[in-house]
Symmetry: D2
Subunit: 368 residues, 4 copies
């Protein structure tokens, strides 16, 4: 059931890079939400290629169509099907790829699993698939905002060795969108852009890290033992193309601290329990604490570079292979909406799970 995620805010996606269409079906979006289709399209446009010189020039209109689930502009509680038809699918430019296994790509493993593959543009393994989850996440974003006031903001935190300094409590989307690399630290952004341009000139690619924060998350989200909030966030991030690592709060760096330096002290502020620091990243024991949820996702350098590579053909012959065509030298700016989507879909599902629990409870929670 690999194309299905979520238990109560549940999303199924479909579609191949060069097939007829891609899309998603959202089951469980609560009724009564006045869906802003322009905002939804704006979310999708952030993921789209061709936004700047930093990303691939391929033009995808990706105009989202709503097939079901809306009535007089509001969600009805029935499945919402969103679809975008493929328009600019130049299958021709991928000729030759079907006969071999591109290093760093899923060509070989899809054949190992399925026995056959749709090689056109990477088929189902293409990053283009992520348009469907960004669309679903756009609906989740509007619901989380309307129902709880939750705000989710992601940004490029590192590109290769260049790291940004960003305040997770305050950063907003305007600051993120102010630079084409989606890094709200202008100095770091400039260095990142230079680095990406250099990689492009050299026919090479670079990786980096996206950080994402959710503010306004109520305490109580997350379902121990296996469905901890951070566990589901990790899964959602690692399910993104090219993602190789995940952290919440202090992450790997936190393993070098002493316990006495790591714990966040509790305090009472304005009648609510809160923590004075946030090394936990907003989650304790798998349950949100009310502090901002802060996660990081590592993306490897794009596999499609333009240096010669060794590989084998489907028939098992060793060959030297070199990519052609149009490809991003750095996926990071376009990965920002993907990590946000991972956060949004996970929060939406867990919010509904918490609603079920609280609706049935005979004991009030510590904080509303």
């Amino acid at each position: 059931m690999g194309s299905h995620t979520g238990q109560l805010f549940a999303v199924t996606t479909f579609g191949e890079s060069h097939g007829v269409a891609l899309g998603c079906v959202i089951e469980g979006c609560p009724p009564g939400l006045a869906l802003d289709l322009e905002a939804l399209q704006a979310d999708l446009d952030r993921r789209r290629p061709g936004q700047s010189a930093l990303t691939t020039p391929r033009k995808e209109a990706d105009r989202v169509q709503v097939l079901s689930g809306l009535f007089e502009g509001r969600t009805t509680g029935t499945p919402i099907a969103l679809v975008f038809f493929n328009e600019d699918a130049r299958s021709r430019s991928y000729d030759g790829v079907e006969a071999l296994y591109r290093p760093g790509h899923a060509d070989f493993t899809y054949e190992a699993r399925y026995g056959l593959r749709d090689h056109r543009g990477g088929g189902r393994a293409s990053a283009r698939e992520t348009a469907a989850r960004v669309a679903a996440a756009g609906v989740a974003r509007q619901w989380l905002q309307a129902r709880y006031g939750i705000e989710v903001v992601g940004w490029v935190d590192t590109v290769a060795d260049v790291a940004a300094a960003v305040d997770a409590e305050a950063v907003d989307r305007a600051a993120v969108e102010a630079t084409p690399v989606r890094c709200p630290d202008p100095t770091a952004a400039a260095a990142m852009i230079a680095l990406i341009e250099q990689a492009r000139r050299e026919g090479d690619t670079v990786g980096g890290v996206v950080t994402c924060v959710a503010r306004g998350v109520p305490a109580g989200l997350g379902d121990p033992v296996f469905d901890k909030l951070d566990a589901d966030l990790a899964k959602a991030c690692l399910s993104l193309p090219a993602c190789k690592g995940f952290e919440i709060g202090s992450g790997f760096a936190g393993t070098r601290l002493r316990g006495s330096a790591h714990n966040d002290a509790f305090a009472q502020v304005d009648g609510r329990v809160t923590t004075t620091t946030n090394r936990a990243g907003g989650v304790l024991g798998g349950i949100s604490s009310g502090a901002p949820v802060v996660i990081r996702a590592a993306f490897k350098p794009v596999s499609t570079h333009f240096q010669p590579q060794q590989t084998v053909t489907r028939a098992g012959e060793a060959v030297t292979f070199r990519n052609e065509g149009r490809h991003d030298p750095c996926v990071l700016p376009r990965a920002v909406p993907l990590v946000e989507a991972a956060m949004l879909l996970t929060l939406a599902d867990h919010a509904l799970r918490l609603e079920a629990l609280r609706g049935g409870a005979l004991q009030p929670p510590k904080q509303p």
Copy 2:
């Protein structure tokens, strides 16, 4: 459904630290497996406290009992219930904890979610809960070994700043068990032990990283888009207590490489497609490639240290709090079987999902 994991090799756990018993029910373990109960107990004993001076002196017999699912020593395909009764539950030593929220613990978030909590020994949030999944993973280990020859080995890779050098292709359990810190690099192990002992003397705690490898995994495991093998591995790791980060293959370090340096070249060896390096960590496009699956899990320093800490009571009063009792200064040695359990349960579930797909397929896979 937080206490349930897996779709086809499905495990449900139950039990609190100081309740009557803990255990698990395994649904979907294939029939005909001759279960070695001694080996299962041995797996459990590795997780147990009190194994060495490095870990807490609490004695838990944790003798596993099989309640169902076995007939004449073999699995029957029906649910396997495993249970261990609590014996050495000194609730008394936790007196006083119920009135406040321990920093770094789930006391507050459980109350925020459930409205009440079993405070005895951490209740359901106790690391003792992991005994149930280690037991389930022990069954998975035996099945994966018998059916596919898969071998899973984990070890302590870092403690605070001390890092080991270990060959993931060759390391075995004997080397891991040779030191009480479960680090197969003797030099690093000695340094780790010294560091842990020092933390203990100072009433403090340390964190670190566990690495785990699975060898002999067939190509084809993993279900794109959302249930990628690495996504489910990340979730399984982050669902472990105190885990704050996850990596597969090159992980965060890989984000600093160029794409031309990162891709693993394909080659044909002995009639099979393989890669000459393994920065991917054995997974491409969310599907296993046949190369060793290599993951890393970051564990924060143990939250229960013996320094004074600021917190609030349930009534909202600020207090200074100091832990008493018996606790590990470092969870890493005992985290090794936990990360192995994350790997084993994930592989078992995905193996059955692949069996379903291949059994129904009308097209043969690239490699058997």
Copy 3:
């Protein structure tokens, strides 16, 4: 997750009667199936209104479009999205219905659940929704036939008091399609047609029972305890609009037999274990025995008749209401493909579950 069914052959449907489009996403259809789109369309056409004088004259082209999951005519193992756009949606003829609750319909209960409803043509509660599952079942049918040689045939067994005599072991689709009422017993068919025509003239409606057989089902399908094959068949049938009852094998009539008269004796025929009678309906202990699986589904008389009815408006006022427009006086002929769909989707899901179990087993089953 009401719009989702199946665990391994999993189907999600979407769409309202008078929305933009309806459709489904099939996850888990095994790869390599050469899909016959004409046969798929033919399955859909059987469900379509306007096939004969017995059914509503509304014209629905319902031309199925494949959006994903096919490559060079074969399934790839990735999600198959099927969609049909609404063309002949005369919303106008339903004006006035939005202000009251039609007896026998879901108007009131949808508002009780969702707070609002898409009243146009019944919205999501319309029988038109079933087009999506018939489409999904058409894919299941082709796979079950290609992989196992399974054959599924349904027919109208009773209309009101008129009952047919049909041999479940031998009946085929040609015999079913030979009469517009889809009853392969010509004498009963004539009586049924007369009865339906009379009801239509009187502005009334009638109900009846559909019987459905699956032949060639391998022994071993069905997952005790809760997911017994007959339990999932019952659920699939009761999820059909207007269905009020389900039987397998001897059903309610069997409750009047003595045990000594009810049990099916086992015998060995051609080296295989079989039963000499089939009162069990092909399922023992929730698992298929290899005998034909025979089920029956009861459909109430169509709720939309043309007699005056008492009801209340949304504001709570008592009113007399009378339907207008175009509606079937008897849903039975068009219910045949629906019951077949219930059978097909259930068998497909359980077949894959059996493949998973057998692929992982270390013990061979009694019969292959």
Copy 4:
């Protein structure tokens, strides 16, 4: 995942008839419920054999033990594990059965599915398994009562040809328990008892029908399209041993009515929308209407009678077989708590699903 049921009020059962123990794990029971263990035991005792001359004399203490999920007498929201150890397991009396396939039993189909079976007392296929779900349903009963005031009552409606006349709106448990056959119509009860005694004397068995009503169910439960409330009720009933049929409301008899006679008129009573009749059985479009939910489940005559039967051995030889030992001539009285369990577990799960939907909704439902 056959031993798992429910999405939010989720139950996993385990155990064989003559194994060490049986039990269940309940995930998702809301926190704060003061669990009455005596009432729970009383529910279990109704299912127990040996209650009267009408049922098997086997003594099962079936004293339920709570292993987890309770703290100071209240549910905590964590998994509740319930277990009962087997005490009176006379495996010896089943000797000889392992070599052949008993007609009407699951011996053959378990081997066809799993390759091996625990033949002792029917193993997992034994009706003894139902103790686990009755236990889980007892918890559901207490929660549904405490949270919504829902009341569930079942009774024996027919035995063979003898039918009772019972008012579903008024019948209570006291009336049901007043006769050993659990039929609240005293005249019918006497005839049923005579009929069962006669069958016993003749070494034969009889079947019948259980009816069950749920009163006080809020409008809005049920998740169209596939997870309709009646669909899940049908599945829950058909998953009971020996159940061959299911009806809701008018059921099969309703197929003989005209639509004008079948529809239930709506009316407003005390400010609430209600229906003046209840042929729908409390469900419209798969969603509860607020009217009593009325279902019926058909049970075949017990397969274990004492007449000679034809069957084959595992080696394929034809043999004549005759049962020995202790067995019910009629399962109906003990089936009453099973059908109640089917109702209770289904309602509990759907109630939580409705809580999730309403908690997330931005539009109020028609009725609270």
